[in-house]
Amino acid sequence: MDIGNCFHCGNEIIKKEEIIFDEKSFCCNGCKTVYEILSQNDLTCYYDFQAAPGATPLDIQGKYDFLDNEEIVAKLLEFQEDTTHIVSLYIPHIHCSSCIWILENLQKLQSGISTSQVNFPEKKVRVTFNPEKTTLKKIVELLCSIGYEPYISLENYEQGKKLVDRSLIYKIGIAFFCFGNIMLLSFPEYFEVEEFWINQYRGFFRWLIFALSLPSFLYSASGYYVSAWKSIKSGLLNIDIPIALGIVVMFVRSTVDIVFGYGQGFFDSMTGLIFFMLLGKLFQKKTYDFLSFERDYKSYFPIAITKILSDGTETSVQVYDIEKGERLLIRNQELIPVDGILISEKASIDYSFVTGEAIAIEKKSGDKIFAGGKQMGKVIEMEVLFSVSQSYLTQLWSNDVFQKKVEIKHKTVTDKISRYFTPALLLLAIVSFLYWVFIDVTTAFNVFTAILIVACPCALALTAPFTLGNVLRIMGKRKLYLKNATVIEQLAKVDTIVFDKTGTITTNKKTSITYEGAQFTSDELKLLKNTLRGSNHPLSRRLYDFIPNQERMEQNEFQEIIGKGIFAKFGDTTIKLGSSQFLAHMSENTHKKTKVHVEINGAYKGSYIFNNQYREGLEFLFENLAKKYDLVVLSGDNDGERKILEKMLPKNSTIVFNQKPEQKLNFIKNLQKEGCNVMMVGDGLNDAGALAQSNVGISISENVNVFSPACDGILDASQFEKIGFFMQYSKNAMKTIYMSFGVSLIYNFIGLSFAVTGNLSPIVAAIIMPLSTITIVSFVTIVTNVYSRIK
C-alpha cells in the first residue's frame, strides 16, 4: 500500500482509490472536484500559501433547502437592502492563510458576490452580495463545494448585532496620553534647580499638569470608583477600595500642594498608576473569539427541518414551528429535533452525545425516538409527538442549574488579601497621623496622605492579572482554552475529578476490533466481506472496513434481520453473521461486550469483538492523578467495561454506570454537599448538567469547532493526557501569585518607611511606583514561563 498524500487535503491516499488529475494525486473525487473548480477559475494560488489546506467537500444534498425560506434568510442576514445583502457566516474549517485567501476571492467564483472579508480569530466570513444576481443558498452551496461548509445553527438565528465594548481601550489611550505628557512636563521640577526661569513659569507648568490629569482621574479611573463603591455598599472589601482611595487621596493632596505652593504634587505617579492598572486589566482579558463557552442546546440544533406535507411534497419549516402530528424527513447525519414516532421501517440513531451510549441504537417502525440523536444511514420519516420546547432535551436544559448562571462567589485570591490589607492600611495611616499631630500638624497631614499614596496596592493588584493572563495564554497555546482567569484559581483548588466515559476517556475514532475463534481461509474472508457490503448497520460497516479488500462476488440470497443479524448465500455456501441469539450460539463469557458471531455453512467459526478504544496515556494519567485527587467515572453506557476500568483506576475510585444526565448532575451535587471541590471532564450533552453544576467543568472536544456544552474550559482531545500537567500548572500559578505578593509587600515596606518618617517627596514616589510595577510584571512573567517548562 503506497502512502501518498492528497494534494488538496493532505490525507493519506490508498493506492487503489487514487485519482490523478493535472499531474497531481487526490484521495477522492471530492478533493479532485474542488481542485478543478479552483483551477478553472485561476485560483490555484490557494495551494501556494499552505500545503494541503483543503477539506473534502461533504454531500449536502438537500441540506440547505431551508434557505429558500424568505423568513429564515431574513433572520440570518446582517444587512438587507434592495441590491445589497450582507451575511456573516461561521466557517469552522478556517485555519490558515490559504483559507483567508480563497474566502476573500469568492467573487471570482460567483458573480453575484461583490466582496467578502474574513475575520480569522472568529473564523467568520462576511459576504456582501447582490440578491438579484445570487441567493444565500447558492453562496452556501458554493462554500460547501470548495470544502468550507458554514455552521448554521439555531444560535445564529437568534443573535442580534453584537455590541463591541471598546471602552477599556479608550481609557488606556487617554490614560497614557495624560501620563506621558505629565511626565515630560514634570521634569523641570524634578531637578529642583533654583533658576530664575523655573520660578517664573512654575505656575504655568503646575496648572497645565493639573489640567492634563483631569481626564485620567475622572474618566480612565472611573471603573475603580464604581467598583469600590459597589463593594462598600455590599459590605465586602475588595482590592479596588484601597486603589480608589489611593487615587483620590493623591489627587486631593496634589491639588492642595499646588494651590498652596507646598510642592509639585503627585500627578505623575497618579496617572502612571492609573495607566498600569488599566494595562493589567487589558492583559487579563484574553478571549478566544472562535470558541464559545456559553453554548446551550440552540447551537446544537439546526434551524429548519424538512416537513412532509399531506400531499407528499417537502418543504422547509423552522424548528420552532414544528407541531404535533406533522411528518418530518430526516436525512443521514441530520439531527432529530423533536420527540416523535418512527414511521419508516428502520432507523439507526446515534445518541452518544445525548446519553453517552457508545453504539447507535436500532429502532423500528412504531418506536419512539427522542430529540438529540443523529440519524445514521438512509433517510427516515417520523411523526412528531412533542414540539421543540416540550421535548426531553429542552427540558434537560431548562434545569435550574443553567438558569442560575452559577455565580459561585469565588473569592479571588486578590480579594482575599484585600480583606486584611485595607483595614491594616487605614490603621497604620491613622496611627501615624496621631503620632505626628503632636509634633507638627502639617507633617501629620503629609504623612497621612503619603501612607495612603505609597501603599496604594498597585503592585498587589497587578500581580494576579499579569500572572493569570500569562497562564491563560500559555494554556491556550497548549490547547486548553479557559473561559476566564478565575477558572485557573478554581482549578488549583480542585480535589475530586469526575470523568465521563463515552467520548471522554474513550475515543470513537479507532474502535479496535479483535477476532476470537477459528482462522478464516481467504475464500471465507471473501464471502464475509461481500456479505457485509450489503448491510448498513454501523457494526457491519466497521467490520467491512476492518477486513482487507477482497474481490467482489454476487450473492444469491441476502437477508438482514434488524437487531439480529445477516444471512447470505453464495452458490452453495451460506453465511450467518450476528448476535449470539441469532446464531443460537451461547458464548461462555457474559461480558455484555458487543460481538458479531460468524457461522459458515452451519458451523460456528468465531466472533469479532468491538472494543472501546481508550485514549492514549489514560492509565498513566490516572496513576498520576490518583496521587493527589479522588477519581470518579460516571457513564451513561452499560457496565460492560467495568472490569477494564477497575484495572485502570486505583482501588478506592468510584465507577458508576447507566447514569442518566440528571443522575450525573445529582451525583456531583452530592459530592459537593460532602465538601468536595469537583472538576468534571465530559464531552456531550449528557454531561451538560454535570458540567454546569461542578466547580470546574472541562469539555473535551475532538474538534473544537463542533458544539460543546456550557463549560468553563475546552480541552482539545489530543491533549487529554496532559490534564495532570494543567492541574499542576494551575497550582504553580497560585504559588507564583503568593510569591509576588511577597515581593510587592517588600516594596510597600520600603515606601512606607519613607512615608511614615515624613520623607516622601514626589520624586521618590515617582520612582517607586514604576519600579515596583516593572519588577512584579517581569517576575511573574518569567516565573510562569519557567513553570510551564516543567512537565
Binding site: 483567508i100 485567501w101 480569522f120 471598546r166 505628557n181 513659569y201 504655568f204
Partner: protein, 68 residues
Amino acid sequence: MSVIYLLISVSIVVALIFLIAFIKAVKSGQYDDDYTPSVRMLFDDEVKKNPNKNPNKNQIQTLEEKQV
C-alpha cells in the same frame, strides 16, 4: 523665554490631535481583528491568466509581469 508658553501649548495641541486620531481609529473598528490584516497584506495582486485557458475570459496584467 516667554515663548515657552507658546511652544508647550503647541506641543500639547499636537499630542491632542494624535489622541483624537487614535480614538477615531479604534472607534471605526479596524483594530477589532488584529490578525487577519497581517496575512492579507502578503497576498499578491491579480495574476495574469494562462493564455491556454478559456479565451473568453479577460486578460489582466500584473505589475510583476511588466517588471520581468
